[in-house]
Amino acid sequence: MQAHKEIQVALMGQPNVGKSTLFTRLTGVGVLACNYPGTTVEFYEGTVLRNGHKAHIHDLPGTYSLSGESEDEVVALRMLEDEHPDRVILVADATRLEPSLVLLFQLIELGYPVILALNQMDLARRRFTLDVEALHQELGIPVIPISAKHGEGIEMLADAMLSPELPRTSFQVRYDGHIEAHLTELVAMVTGDLPYPKRGAAVKLLEGNEYVSILLPDEMRDRALVIADDFKITHDESIDVHINRDRYGEAGRILRGVQKPLKGGPSLQEKVSDLTLHPLTGIPILIAVLSSLFLGIVMLGGLLDELISGIYDDLVGDAIITWGATVGGALGETVATGVDQSIMAILVLVIPYIMVFYIIMGILEDTGYLPRAVVLLDGVMHRIGLHGRAVIPMMVGLGCTVPAVLATRTAGTKRERLILATLIVMTVPCSAQMAIILGITGRFAGIGYAALIFLVLLSIMLILGRMMDRWLQYEPTYLAMEIPELSLPTIRNVAFKTWSRSKDFFLIAFPLLFVGSIGVEVLIAYDALNFIVDPFTFLTVGLLGLPAVTIISFIVGVIRKEMALGMLITLFSVGTVSDLSSYLSPDQFFIFGLVMAIYLPCLATMAVLWKEFGLRDTLVISFCSISLAFGVGALFNLILGLNIL
């Protein structure tokens, strides 16, 4: 029998219905991020094992419709087509069922075996009664009320997903009489095998869907064009608009039958939700949220940084180095110092800055606040050639530039994406740069100097944004975005996200830093460093007024920014970070932090820029950022030098 066959399951749904939360509930932590070939739209895969049955779950990108309207939707459509999943779980937000039902109708029309998962049932129950059984009768498919957030109904959903047979539904949307007549005509014209039911293919053909119509014979396609033209003349409405009007009509009719509103005014959640969008209250709230994100990283990060490095010093101190020297003599000491430095750098960087950032970001995401920031800032962002949507990549950029550049995909046109990516690369400090600004400049030169760096970055962003807005040719894109309800985040989900986003820093950055630190230690030990350092003296000493050896920090900073921090410590061969202050003056710390903050993107960022924008733009951005960094650094060196005199 089929007992041990792996079932392929596609998880579908509109954006913001809680699909990813359900996915992590179903699969646990066994998640694999995949890139669909030819795109960078990410989706996740995971496996569920239960009572000897195995299901492979594909978490498809959020899709509003099956028309292939955005890149996410194209990926979802291609996945559906290529994988021919045995089951499709349509995740719907029970508090706003209508649009999800419209998507469901289309899946049923195309013959996919669908299970409807009604998410957020806990919330929905407070607003209306929903007759799940009646909905099931009406649709003829399994309907399972769940709450992904609280784990309600997950077992039932897993059972339904793994059940060997799904009932075939006879449900179909009743379209306008004229459209039905055209469908009958078109269905009769179908020849040969089709991966879809004939009626479903005919509907998609009339809607002008290229992915389905390409499979149909030419005369059918020609006929559909004639029908669409006639329809527009006789009905004064294009046929795809009318088809969707009928779908919403059907969805509304079904919902009126199964859903009865409860009495009672808006909940506290809804009231707060309204406040976040009303300009008078929304803008102060926005300013509070953005500054708490920023200050959270600055204060919590700085605090944890000192705390952790203090604990590390007390507990480990020079033990590793001493042990290295005992075991391996001079070389052993060198290697051990490298090891010690890399552990230290990771400790003072990853936990305080990166993890704090991802925790705050995770909370913001899960509350559903981010789209509100987008909406409120949209008007203002237009002035620097961007849209409100740019806010999210910029906030992500405070963590790591790589996902931020990927997140620019939501920004619309290439022009907008290029402006946004450039601004992020040059002026939004990633958490490693943040650690340098706060952990080096802020700590040794004073928080005023660190604040000045942020001010300089902000000014550059505004000036650069306006300049690029002027130069680059204008192609407008328009905002059309759903705003989800506010909700309370769960610790489980935030913790999961924080781990899956920051683990790369342990797994990739740590080994790199490890090798790099040992390498530099060896070079120092054999006095080989001068070969690299001397040729750049004009830059470091001449232009920036920094010690010549800092060039090593700048060079390794290209590989990973967090290494620059570790290297600085290694270079001055100091045992603990707190000793650094004897090597550089406050002004020098300021210049170092400033240059590092603007400086060349790291290798990972360059790679992702190349992939997204091509080699030419990557080289231009890299060249510009390096010139800007040293230019601004030199300028401030000059100004500070004058002041001292």
Partner: protein, 217 residues
């Protein structure tokens, strides 16, 4: 008072300039089956009444008042057609010919009342300027979402189909004729409009909002 023949000119210009741009005198002459000279004469008069912008040798376009007038006549035309077909059981061709004459003499208030009799003729809540929904909710007026004020509620009557891609986006976001929307917030600095549609909330740029025609409650 705009007479029948002048109204026909308005409708003709309206048709010729639908995709934007101007209507040429020769095109109008051909369309109306008259000489270019009489077109020029009529344009001068319509311009005096501020119904058209007319520049010699360049062409003609409707002013806002002219557009309003032309649309109103189109609506009356569709209304009469529906009345003749649905209620009087006239055949479509005769109904069209009759409507062509009646559209000029039907008063606004009579049109409103006629609306109530024939209800909401579904096949007329159309998709571009030539046929704005004629009498959804017993009203002849036609606005876009962009013209709504905070707190206003309305029903989508149709979408302006000038750009298939934008229309697909709107449809996929749930902006489909017949659905009810409420304008919740009109954000400052030319920010987007926050709309409640069904149980969802959507932020929509003004350029999108211009494409959605509504009937006020």
């Amino acid at each position: 008072m705009v007479t029948g023949s002048r109204e026909d000119y308005l409708i003709c210009i309206h048709k010729l300039t639908q995709g934007g741009g101007v209507a040429k005198t020769n095109d109008i002459a051909q369309f109306m089956k008259v000489s270019p000279a009489s077109v020029t004469e009529m344009m001068r008069r319509l311009a005096e009444e501020n119904l058209v912008d007319y520049e010699k040798y360049r062409g003609v376009r409707l002013t806002r008042a002219g557009q309003r007038h032309a649309k109103q006549i189109r609506r009356k035309h569709r209304l009469m057609e529906r009345f003749l077909v649905n209620i009087l059981d006239t055949d479509a061709e005769t109904a069209h010919e009759e409507a062509c004459k009646l559209e000029h003499v039907l008063s606004d208030s009579a049109a409103q009342k006629l609306c109530r009799i024939i209800g909401e003729p579904e096949e007329c809540t159309g998709c571009d300027d030539t046929c704005d929904g004629i009498c959804v909710n017993h009203s002849l007026t036609q606005d876009t979402v962009a013209s709504m004020n905070e707190g206003d509620a309305a029903v989508i009557s149709h979408l302006r189909c000038e750009n298939a891609e934008k229309i697909r986006k709107l449809i996929s976001m749930g902006f489909v004729p017949g659905r009810r929307i409420v304008l919740e917030n009109d954000l400052p600095f030319k920010g987007p409009l926050v709309l409640r549609i069904g149980d969802s909330r959507v932020a929509l740029d003004r350029d999108y909002a211009d494409l959605i025609f509504v009937d006020r409650d």
